[in-house]
């Protein structure tokens, strides 16, 4: 009697013996035939991770990534049939995976790749019409709060994740300078886009994303900050979907 617990347990664990009760069709026991399923499961899950993390894969190399994927799928098997969202545990896994300890930026690169994938599948929204801002009385402008599109992500890193991403995905990009970077992920139409933000702009956007009004975001960003360019970026990239004027 072969139960599915037994059949499933050995799929991701090469140390386990082939479950009993499986035959070649004529009654003879078989190992290689069971191994077809072992191979299908391992390869298909590693493929899913490869398509999710192309930059991580480039950084560690194809052979290393495939070997690492085998460790990952055993530690974090999928909990959902939606393969397009498989791998959410990768950043945490990379933080504790000793063989990549010398690449401390890897977890944040994985977070950026997850954000791009989430952005790609996020719900569609009608972007905020910039004219809506013009209808707010100037003295009330500071009270305005924005609703952000679900495709928008802000990632702060101690590492140059924007530079690393571009250097690996866009031909002719310069080598990244080793500095902290914050990346804004937006989705104009259907293709996610990334932009680096300086410290002040990053604080400004983070404050707005937390639901605070413009005044609070400007105060958080501190002196000499011109919000014009980053507000323009938010408006043209479809990052904002609505505003609420203050009471």
């Amino acid at each position: 009697m072969t139960g599915q617990s037994e059949f499933a347990a050995a799929l991701l664990d090469p140390a386990r013996a082939t479950p009993p009760g499986l035959t070649d069709g004529s009654g003879a026991p078989t190992t290689r035939r069971y191994d077809v399923y072992r191979n299908n499961v391992t390869v298909s899950l590693a493929d899913a991770l490869e398509s999710a993390f192309p930059v991580v894969r480039k950084l560690v190399g194809e052979a290393f990534f495939r070997a690492m994927a085998q460790v990952f799928v055993r530690a974090h098997p999928p909990r959902s049939p939606l393969m397009m969202f498989y791998g959410a545990d990768m950043p945490g896994f990379l933080e504790g995976f000793a063989p990549v300890a010398k690449l401390p930026y890897l977890p944040d690169v994985a977070r950026l790749e997850l954000a791009l994938r989430q952005s790609y599948h996020a719900a569609d929204c009608v972007p905020l019409d910039p004219a809506a801002l013009g209808q707010i009385a100037p003295e009330r402008l500071g009270d305005v709060r924005f609703i952000f599109a679900p495709a928008v992500h802000l990632l702060r890193s101690d590492w140059p994740i924007h530079g690393i991403w571009r250097a690996n995905m866009v031909d002719g990009s310069p080598a990244p300078a080793m500095q902290p970077e914050t990346v804004l992920v937006t989705r104009p139409a259907y293709d996610p886009d990334i932009a680096p933000l300086d410290t002040q702009a990053a604080t400004f956007v983070a404050t707005l994303m937390s639901g605070e009004p413009l005044t609070a975001a400007l105060e958080a960003a501190r002196g000499g900050f011109d919000p014009g360019p980053v507000l323009g970026l938010l408006l043209t990239s479809g990052a904002l979907t609505a505003l609420t004027p203050g009471d």
Partner: protein, 283 residues
């Protein structure tokens, strides 16, 4: 309750839809008359996949083909996944919904493969209950696909065709006949693919799948074919399709090409071969 005809897909060539073919399909679809998608790839919240699908459903009859429901699983069906499926089938309004005689989830762990089950009275009851649950949730008849098999279970009490026939009788579901799977399983077990077709309840077939397979060997060096969907359909499978159509009459025919996906002209040419097969069906 679900005694409508097996499916309303047209008895014409169809292909498994791949996003890289989007523009080609819209500008130059011939000979393809309908499209099939994997349900799970269209369960995001929005973005390009859903936008493309919305547009394609205005132009082509659609088949939604699930790969993750785990109808053959020992556990209960995942209610979240069934709800997602209901939402997708609701808005895309496909001509057909199909799933597999297989399992892929165990203890909330998704294994991303179509895993085999023994054919017994107990598994028959369980699978029939799951089909009932799906058909009730979706409010429509579904098609169930025969698997490609690499091994058999000592505990099986009936043949696969007996099992499928009993499911049709108990649940009123239709069947998706994958003739490549028939050829793969028959080769792997040293049995006759024609005998399998002879025993198959062809009246219940609402769709036929064709795809490519890989060749390997088993423990004893005998051929072991592996369903891979990464190559052209081989000649013996085309011959088995002719054998089937001569008995079943015209059916909707689908080319499945999921790995190493070729450019559109190659896939369209493969679909054209199914049009030729349909043209050979005796009136």
């Amino acid at each position: 309750m679900f005694d409508t005809p097996p499916a309303s897909l047209p008895a014409r060539p169809g292909v498994g839809y791949k996003p890289q073919h989007y523009a080609d399909i819209l500008s130059n679809p011939a000979p393809v008359g309908w499209l099939e998608i994997h349900a799970e790839n269209y369960m995001g919240d929005g973005g390009r996949p859903l936008a493309q699908l919305r547009h394609l459903t205005e132009r082509f009859p659609l088949s939604v083909h699930g790969v993750g429901l785990s109808i053959g699983g020992e556990g209960r069906l995942d209610p979240d996944h069934l709800a997602r499926l209901k939402r997708l089938v609701g808005w895309s309004n496909p001509a057909s919904f199909s799933e597999h005689l297989a399992w892929s989830t165990h203890d909330s762990q998704f294994l991303n493969d179509l895993l085999p089950l023994p054919y017994t009275a107990a598994t028959l009851t369980r699978v029939a209950d799951h089909i009932d649950e799906v058909q009730t949730a979706l409010g429509r008849r579904m098609l169930l696909e025969n698997p490609s098999s690499y091994l058999a279970f000592a505990q099986s009490e009936m043949s696969e065709t007996e099992f499928l026939r009993a499911l049709v009788q108990r649940t009123g579901c239709g069947l998706l006949l994958d003739v490549n799977n028939v050829f793969v399983s028959a080769t792997n077990f040293g049995t006759s693919p024609q005998a399998y077709i002879d025993a198959f309840p062809l009246d219940a077939v609402g769709e036929i799948h064709l795809g490519g397979h890989d060749e390997d060997t088993d423990d004893d060096g005998r051929p072991l074919l592996i369903d891979s969907h990464g190559k052209p359909v081989v000649d013996p499978v085309w011959a088995l399709l002719d054998y089937t159509l001569a008995r079943s009459g015209p059916k909707p025919l689908l080319i499945e090409w999921d790995n190493d996906v070729p450019d559109w002209p190659v896939l369209a040419a493969e679909a054209a071969r199914t049009a030729d097969a349909l043209a050979r069906v005796p009136a």
